[in-house]
Symmetry: C2
Subunit: 202 residues, 2 copies
Amino acid sequence: MDIDAIVDNERFRQQISFLIEVDKIKNVIRKTRNFDNKKFENDAEHAWHLCMFAIILSEYANEKLDIVKILKMVLIHDLVEIDTGDTLVYDVNTVEKGRKENECAERLFGSLPDDQYIELMRIWEEFEARITPESKFAHAIDRLEPVMQNYVDDGFTWKQHSITADKVYNVNRKIQDGSRYLWEFAKRIIDESVASGNLLKE
Amino acid sequence: MDIDAIVDNERFRQQISFLIEVDKIKNVIRKTRNFDNKKFENDAEHAWHLCMFAIILSEYANEKLDIVKILKMVLIHDLVEIDTGDTLVYDVNTVEKGRKENECAERLFGSLPDDQYIELMRIWEEFEARITPESKFAHAIDRLEPVMQNYVDDGFTWKQHSITADKVYNVNRKIQDGSRYLWEFAKRIIDESVASGNLLKE
């Protein structure tokens, strides 16, 4: 049944359509597996988990955080993957992918009433720009979660894609921009994974 | 690999253990199916989606909402189902289930440092008590999402469990405590579902 047909108010129709459209994020499958059930995580589960990381670990941020902003940021940060899909973080992000993500952000957020379009577009652009404390911390936990997942999963994704420790270091060192404390933790995970043979040294 | 072994700080160890433990919510499968891919929704996807409902639809709440509080509430509201599982909302909730949920809340939140235990336990208890504006609105969207899912899914769960319109009305009328506007919308969905034959009148 088409839900649009029973909504008479245009603003409300746009909002309800958006809420149904973003359901597609549950189809976007990531490269890492859940801690417990070892299924590949999808982007909705990932966004939920990052919110929990933000709530529990915000005290380790380098700078004080606006919790509403970081929660909204984390909730919507991967919505653009509805059109582009998930990419392995160790692959090079092309200009083409950036262009498609921008198009998807315009398509999705642009389907909302103007005030909500402006708010969510700004938050997404802020996330991408990695300048504010919230965006730096959001990127930090966005990187920390898969590193932890790989550690618990005996290096599953690293092994599958023949990722070496220097790559893991280089891609994840930006964690320190959001949290020096969490980067120390991530480094211990990486070193321990090399020591145990779950991550190739080179 | 066990992550506890490489964490030396007790507070941080409790927090990391909690973040890994709550991953189990991704195993809790609900009775309704996602809008798009028609898989049964899990509790992590559900919590993520309710956050999006809260962000986009908060203007329809009967009372002004504290957005941080409702987001935190929605993010953790079903964590207790890690131990109890999901129950069909049209089944009677037993005293036994309430007792088990309380035990699970104590187990999960109690594994956190004291300040975080107190904060999350209070938010979960506030959700359960349905007295504050945030808890009433959280329950409203918690009910609206599956009603919308069933509408789009041609009454799937209602048909599967032989649920009749009077039951759907009775269980979901509490939506109006959080939002009269959203309850009007839910009623149109229910009426339309009866008219189209996707929901048994009695």
